[in-house]
Amino acid sequence: MNGEMSQAELGQRIGLTRQTIAAIEAGKYSPSLEAAFRIAQVFNVPLGEVFQWEVKATPLKAS
């Protein structure tokens, strides 16, 4: 996430384990909103700069 901070250090600052930070980085775990905001706060950037969400287009079914 940031070359100047280790996963363990980031985890320690926001109350998550190093493995959880690694899983978030790898896109294998979606953090809670609170954790996402905390991560953004640590890096002092807006939430959207750290996390993106890809909208998958699903066709609407006619009712």
């Binding site: 320690q12 384990t17 493995q19 959880t20 980085e25 790898a26 294998k28 775990y29 954790a35």
Partner: protein
């Protein structure tokens, strides 16, 4: 591998070591079993439980001494989510097994067969619990 995943593996191994031979032994049939209220089979179960506790105790000690302190952190939100998922799965196994044992088996079985079936479903629920924990950590492992 995270500390909690190691603990889950340890719990699975302890159950396999203790209850595997137990169910193989009692699964052979009535054999020397005596009907309730004789308590001889209870001695075997007590022995198996002691073996499980010894394996768990030795394993905990080994993992605790072998893992750095920062690995043994309190549960975070991902750990709690995994725990919740695994306990939910185990609950359904346990409730299904107990319905089978409590509502249907009394019509077809007696004595220690029912007791061992109840023990089996408790152990099965525990196995499901720890298996889901291990599988969840494996799936979410980054490398």
């Amino acid at each position: 591998m995270s500390y909690r995943e190691k603990i889950a593996w340890l719990s699975l191994i302890a159950m396999a070591v203790a209850y595997g031979p137990y169910f193989m032994f009692v699964g052979r049939g009535p054999g020397p079993w005596e009907p309730l209220p004789h308590l001889h089979p209870l001695g075997l179960f007590a022995l198996v439980s002691i073996v499980r506790m010894l394996v768990l105790g030795a394993g905990y000690l080994y993992l605790r001494l072998g893992s750095p302190r920062q690995e043994r952190q309190p549960l975070d939100e991902r750990d709690r989510a995994i725990e919740h998922r695994s306990l939910s799965a185990a609950y359904y196994v346990l409730i299904g097994g107990m319905i089978l044992v409590g509502c249907f088996m009394p019509f077809s079985s007696t004595g220690w067969t029912i007791v061992n079936a109840a023990i089996f479903w408790i152990v099965a629920a525990e196995v499901i619990h720890y298996s889901v924990v291990v599988a969840s950590y494996r799936v979410q492992a980054s490398s």
